[in-house]
Symmetry: C2
Subunit: 154 residues, 2 copies
């Protein structure tokens, strides 16, 4: 069993999953509390993508806890392939959602100066939510790289 | 020497690099020919990112031609690590650029209906450029996965 930092069934892997779960939840709640977010397709997509990420990370965190308690080895090729595919899909979706929302935020805050012209727009909340989504993606991308590395060298 | 489709120093690898180069060039030229693109940070970033992609793919295509002509093996760990890092960086940048531009395009074409209200906006060109950027990213992501796989199993 390979013990790379962040590999499944280890404490570091579990902490990474908990981090993903927490940041994804924070991103969703910040965006959902911003008035008028549902007008923007990108922001709705951010919530959907972070929701998917949250469920995935929660599932894998439970699996890590089970493996740690029962001292089970999760590193068989079939399970690893499943983790790799899931992690890659969620990582891509998270990056795509964070970037498309960032595109809209930059347009409003910088290119068009809408945030200054319309002070009632909750621009700060949009920005914080996008930042949290980027942090989530960073953690998922670490997980997915570790998984891919372990699978390729099994 | 591993002969996975798309690996460096093979015909399929060369074709993939040429494809990336062509689609990145097409994306840049379509965006650059759209009036007023420079007002938008996301579109400028798309051009910068595709420009970087174009140079990287061109360099690796030349290296592939050299390896094919001289029948050299490019699969040593140092070169592969360089390819992996470069491919991952350009793939991430391409996806980020494509998604942030897509966010702005969707906002204009769907959420705000700006494309209908202002028919002088070159929305169609923006859309085509973003589509070409996504195709470029797809090809780079194939390359980077292949490189990572070969490096991990060397």
């Amino acid at each position: 069993m390979k013990r790379i930092i962040g590999s499944p069934g280890t404490v570091s892997g579990l902490l990474l999953r908990i981090g993903q779960f927490l940041f994804a939840s924070a991103s969703i709640s910040t965006m959902a509390s911003a008035i008028g977010f549902s007008t923007y397709t990108s922001f709705c997509y951010l919530i959907a993508s972070m929701g998917f990420q949250l469920l995935w990370s929660f599932g894998l965190a439970c699996l890590d806890i089970y493996a740690l308690k029962r001292e089970r080895n999760l590193q068989n090729p079939v399970l690893l392939s499943l983790f790799v595919v899931g992690d890659w899909v969620t990582a891509m979706l998270s990056l795509a959602a964070a970037c498309s929302s960032a595109g809209v935020v930059v347009l409003y805050a910088r290119d068009m100066d809408f945030c200054k012209i319309h002070p009632d727009l909750p621009c700060r909340r949009y920005e914080i939510s996008v930042l949290l989504a980027f942090i989530t993606w960073l953690q998922v991308s670490i997980s997915s790289h570790v998984m891919f590395w372990i699978l390729a060298s099994v």
